[in-house]
């Protein structure tokens, strides 16, 4: 009896020695060079595409369902309306009207309230210039697509998606606990911080395999040339104007993703996170606890 207990505890001790190295490794190489480079190229493209996209939207700030524009019945529109004192900005969103003076519809330009769908500070260029906005948009759209394709080839070839982004059944079962932990701003540390948690995995999968392909394909559907070459795109999205609406909604989804992403970076150890996305190295020792 006694002898058996001694043997058992000896086994546990030796296993513990094998599993937990002593002292624990502090620096963990979290992101490969390829992920880091494509991440920052993607970040640059995203911000410039978003701002030049808002410039393009401003040229006709209304979105419709279908092949053509039913000018009287937009699904989303941002307009300037005459008001008792000057002008007010009105945003129509799926049949609901909102007063958005100051930001959407009417915003300040050189100190003057100016009719403008998205405000000057959110567009490239800052002044109204559709031709230049299109130049920026198409240049960085090409860069985004080429960067994205390189990322996909790498991700599949190196098993990045399978290994790092695909949640296991066990991880999916932890979804509820992970949501609660995130809401309480409690983040994994030490060894668990080596792996994306299930919420991260799902958010990244949605951005990489849903929102980004959607925004590229609906962008292509707005091109009359591409519509001639690949008319199937029109049927897939329900017409050119629907594609323009979906493009805008997918962009909104990506903006939401980026906001949450940046908040998470800030609250879960900002310098450690930024360092690991620049140099690759993540400090497990100073991870938040």
């Amino acid at each position: 009896m006694v002898a058996r207990e001694i043997t058992a505890s000896a086994t546990i001790a030796s296993e513990a020695r094998r599993v937990v190295p002593d002292p624990p490794v502090r620096w963990f190489h979290r992101h490969s060079g390829f992920v880091r480079v494509t991440h920052w190229v993607n970040a640059l493209c995203f911000i410039l595409l978003l701002m030049s996209g808002l410039q393009i939207f401003n040229a006709h700030p209304a979105l419709y369902v279908g092949a053509d524009s039913d000018f009287e019945h937009p699904t989303i529109s941002i307009t300037a309306q005459r008001a008792d004192h000057g002008i007010k900005g009105e945003t129509l969103l799926f049949g609901r009207q909102f007063d958005t003076t100051g930001v959407l519809g009417v915003s300040s330009m050189n100190g003057q309230p100016t009719p403008r769908a998205f405000p000057s500070w959110s567009t490239i260029p800052s002044y109204q210039d559709l031709a230049t906005g299109r130049r920026w948009h198409f240049f960085f759209a090409w860069l985004l697509v080429l960067n994205g394709l390189a990322y996909l080839v790498f991700g599949f070839a190196k098993g990045h998606f399978r290994r790092d982004l695909l949640p296991s059944a066990a991880e999916l079962r932890h979804l509820g606990t992970d949501i609660i932990a995130h809401l309480r701003l409690r983040f994994p540390r030490g060894d668990t911080a080596k792996r994306y948690n299930v919420l991260q995995q799902l958010a990244y999968l949605a951005a990489v395999f849903l929102l980004l392909p959607l925004i590229v394909l609906t962008g292509l559907t707005m091109s009359p040339g591409i519509d001639t070459a690949v008319p199937q795109l029109l049927s897939a999205f329900g017409g050119r104007q629907s594609a323009r609406l979906i493009h805008f909604l997918a962009a909104s989804g990506l903006v939401l993703f980026v906001i949450v992403h940046i908040v998470m970076v800030l609250v879960s150890g900002v310098w450690n996170n930024i360092r690991s996305m620049i140099t690759g190295w993540y400090d497990l020792g100073t991870a938040p606890r």
């Binding site: 800052s126 031709a131 091109s223 040339g225």
Partner: protein
């Protein structure tokens, strides 16, 4: 403790400093983008993307692939008119007064035989009717039915000389946006397309819209339809078709009224 951990030196970073840094970086990026936008060299780098788009689309499209066509039921109830909608040029007003009875389409430049065609002449030529989607560069679309003469029919009668590379459309309207104070002759609307597009079956000079005579707002008496590109390529109030080797010597030298004002010559996107 969550959030901002002390860094390795033990100094906690300032949240306010970070925010101010992000904001001033944003301002720098914005003013930088405006400056880059006005730098000719930077613009030509951004333009490289459009050369790529043109090459890839031409490869995907081939010469004769047709733009999607629609059914009668799809025709838009309101077809927006953009650009010039009521030209006030004297010559045009005189022609419109007589319901374009004196109007003639001139075909000249690098052709074997110069042509001068009345509306009756054009209506006597083979015609094509197509219900297509019109996409404005601003973002909206309208569907309309167009009837007209395929440009290829006119060009084959004129005989295109081998040196010719582009077809230029000279228009009757002056769409003065106030940015250029040149004489009216120089700021008349014009457009140009290459011979691939000129030969395309859907490239027509339309005289009817939605089963009726083309109205003034939409380009009477004759306008171009170029279904695989954006609306600004589709010159209205066409007076003269000129075959040229290069459009560099015309107006601003970029091949079109809007092209001279910064828009892309190839508008398939």
């Amino acid at each position: 403790m969550n959030g901002f951990r002390a860094d390795r030196e033990g100094k906690p970073p300032h949240r306010r400093g970070l925010l101010a840094g992000a904001l001033s970086l944003g301002g720098f990026v914005l003013s930088g983008c405006d400056r880059v936008s006005n730098e000719p060299q930077a613009r030509s780098i951004l333009d490289a993307a459009n050369v790529l788009t043109y090459r890839v689309q031409r490869f995907l499209l081939g010469a004769h692939r047709l733009a999607p066509e629609f059914a009668e039921a799809d025709i838009s109830s309101e077809f927006r008119a953009n650009g010039s909608t009521d030209p006030q040029d004297d010559e045009y007003l005189d022609l419109a007064d007589k319901d374009f009875a004196d109007w003639r389409l001139k075909v000249d430049g690098l052709v074997e035989h110069e042509l001068s065609l009345s509306l009756a002449d054009l209506r006597a030529l083979p015609s094509r009717t197509q219900i297509t989607r019109h996409d404005c560069v601003e973002g909206w679309s309208c569907i309309g039915k167009w009837t007209g003469v395929p440009l290829a029919e006119i060009l084959s009668r004129a005989g295109v000389k081998p040196q010719a590379r582009y077809v230029v459309f000279h228009c009757a309207d002056t769409l003065d946006d106030g940015s250029l104070s040149e004489d009216p002759e120089k700021i008349r609307y014009y457009e140009s397309i290459d011979l691939d597009d000129a030969d395309h079956p859907q490239t027509i000079l339309a005289y009817d819209m939605n089963g009726k005579k083309l109205d003034i707002a939409h380009g009477a008496p004759l306008r171009l339809r170029l279904e695989r590109q954006l609306g600004y390529k589709m010159a209205k109030y066409v007076m003269r078709v000129e075959l040229v080797r290069s459009y560099a010597g015309l107006h601003g030298g970029k091949g079109g009224y809007w092209e001279d004002r910064g828009y892309e010559w190839y508008a398939g996107i």
